[in-house]
């Protein structure tokens, strides 16, 4: 009933090898991931565990089971795609033809921002490590979603939800929210359309790549609401809403508002609080229409006949969310919930007045302001390669080259984090989810961790022939509070395992 819930982001990065436009992106992505693994891992590299189990619950917070597992059954590396699980609980791997950073599970928007930013720094270190490989490949990574030549790649969000919430309600109430959320969550793009884009600027990287309202696909016929049902938690209790619509954000406030407002809207849907029907006539074309108008004046038609701008549609949700939090908590609402509501309101008010007032907070406005500056000063048209270059280079994750980074350093984009917090999050897990157990096990007992996943940590222990699987089916167990003391006082993986199982 607040912005707090189990959530996370997963970002596929654009990749290019300097001077080699024909370089194989899978090879380059693997080089990045493997180079990071080699430069950071202390012992063996744990594999990703694809096994799904029906485990037994342990009162201390684990679902314990022991079983014989052939190591070959645990492997996911038949495809030769690199994969590494980090001490911060994240997964760094090759997904399709891109390196991807999947955040550890967090419980609130600020932590989502923190580990999302840590992902950028991990990618930066990884690309630098790859430059030390034979042949010194100059691999550069971009936190964006399109090459402007017809191709898009994703920046997904995940939200744990109650299974009891009807999926139809999620579709009904979330679709209008997603159609309009881009007014603050868009990352900005030069070009309109998929292939051979027309001239112009739009507020979202992804909008033009969405073609249907609801569906299971993620790589073609992309849906506004994705139906992938892979809870990575007890499926009786939970679903994991897999959101594929969003842009990869660099601006911390964009990410913060994106996940914070979404989490609040989901809380209202779970509580059956939204009784207004805000359904949009033709949501796919509305999504694009909103994106294509950086003045934010375009009207979209609701099924009840009203015509609203994207900002006004967001204000409807904001209005509901304010009442919802007031009714449920009054002044006892937690800090982040109040902060998200205040910022959401402030941003929408200013976007409605003059979007440029948000240039220090939101990606698309910061990028747009920069582009307009170049157009004015140099008399450039939207098809000018320089403007396309600025679009791409905004997302270059190198601090010396990336334009987002230059704007931050010039004090033109506000932050919520400090470098120190982000740096720590590259190595340390969140303390309040199962990512804590996963990350600490990899940090402390890496020579004995054979595999891991969101749902498990699998140990290879001396003196035991079979691998020992510790399922972590509940995202809110295995926290520092639950197992911090146990991990601190267990010298070896055998100690830990024996104490977990009561042996």
């Amino acid at each position: 009933m607040s912005v707090r819930r189990v959530m996370g982001t997963e970002v596929e990065y654009g990749i290019s090898v300097a001077g080699q436009p024909q370089a194989n992106p899978m090879v380059a992505s693997s080089q990045v991931v493997n180079a990071y693994a080699s430069s950071t891992l202390k012992a063996r590299r744990a594999r990703w565990d694809f096994e799904e189990e029906s485990p037994l619950r342990d009162a201390r917070g684990f679902d314990m089971s022991r079983q014989v597992a052939d190591p070959s059954q645990l492997t996911d590396e038949d495809l030769g795609l690199a994969n590494v699980i980090l001490t911060n609980g994240a997964r760094l791997y090759v997904d399709h033809a891109h390196p991807e950073f999947s955040c550890p599970e967090v419980t609130n928007p600020l932590d989502a921002v923190r580990w999302d930013k840590a992902g950028e720094q991990v990618m930066l270190d990884a690309s630098r490590a790859a430059q030390r490989l034979p042949g010194n490949p100059q691999i550069h990574l971009y936190k964006n979603n399109t090459d402007n030549k017809g191709v898009s790649y994703g920046a997904h969000e995940n939200y744990l939800m109650r299974r009891s919430t009807a999926f139809a309600d999620i579709v009904k109430h979330l679709t209008p929210f997603f159609v309009s959320r881009q007014v603050f969550a868009g990352a900005g793009r030069v070009g309109i359309g998929q292939e051979r884009p027309k001239n112009g600027f739009q507020i979202s990287q992804r909008a033009d790549f969405f073609e249907v309202e609801v569906g299971l696909e993620t790589t073609l016929k992309r849906p506004i609401i994705n139906t992938r049902d892979e809870p990575h938690a007890d499926p009786e209790k939970y679903r994991r809403l897999h959101v594929i619509l969003g842009d990869a954000n660099l601006a911390e406030i964009s990410t913060y508002l994106k996940v914070g407002s979404t989490s609040l809207v989901l809380a209202m849907i779970e509580d059956g609080y939204i009784t207004r029907d805000l359904s949009v006539d033709g949501p796919v074309s509305a999504l694009r229409a909103v994106s294509h108008d950086p003045t934010l004046k375009t009207l979209i038609t609701l099924k009840d006949g009203r015509k609203l701008t994207g900002v006004q549609l967001q204000m409807e949700y904001l209005d509901l969310a304010k009442k919802f939090v007031e009714e449920r908590y009054g002044s006892d609402a937690d800090y982040q919930t109040k902060d998200v509501l205040e910022r959401w309101e402030s941003v929408l008010d200013r976007l409605e007045r003059d979007p440029m007032e948000c240039a220090t907070e939101l990606d698309w406005v910061a990028k747009y302001k920069l582009l307009l500056g170049y157009r004015d000063r140099d008399g450039l048209e939207w098809d000018d390669p320089k403007l396309h270059l600025i679009d791409l280079q905004y997302a270059d994750i190198r601090p010396e080259k990336g334009l987002y980074h230059r704007l931050v350093r010039a004090g033109r984009i506000e932050r919520l984090m400090t470098d120190d917090l982000v740096e720590k999050a590259m190595h340390e897990p969140p303390t309040d989810t199962r990512a804590y157990f996963r990350g600490r096990c990899l940090e402390k007992y890496s020579e004995n961790v054979a595999a891991a996943s969101w749902d498990s940590v699998i140990f290879d222990l001396p003196g035991r022939e079979s691998l020992q699987r510790v399922p972590t089916i509940d995202p809110l167990r295995g926290t520092k509070k639950h197992v911090g003391g146990l991990l601190d006082s267990s010298e070896t993986a055998v100690d830990l395992f024996n104490r977990l199982t009561g042996a």
């Binding site: 399709h96 399109t146 994703g154 902060d339 000063r377 390669p385 396309h388 270059l389 400090t418």
Partner: protein
């Protein structure tokens, strides 16, 4: 985590003030904005990839999710 100052809440009073702002203020603001933008453009000129056309052409990605 540093937090910025809270934005003033929307009220009819502040809205009106913006709508009726005299033209000269708007022009002055625009000029101030222009020189402000020019500064950052100069800085960014120094880091932009040298051959924009080649760079943009060679930025080719394979599809993802």
């Amino acid at each position: 985590m540093a937090q910025e100052q809270k934005q003033p809440k929307k009220s009819s009073e502040t809205e009106e003030a913006v709508e009726t702002a005299p033209e000269t203020d708007v022009n002055e603001r625009k000029e101030a904005l222009d020189s402000d933008v020019d500064d950052i453009l100069d800085e960014i000129d120094d880091v932009l990839e040298t051959n924009a056309e080649d760079f943009v052409k060679s930025f080719i990605q394979k599809g993802g999710q």
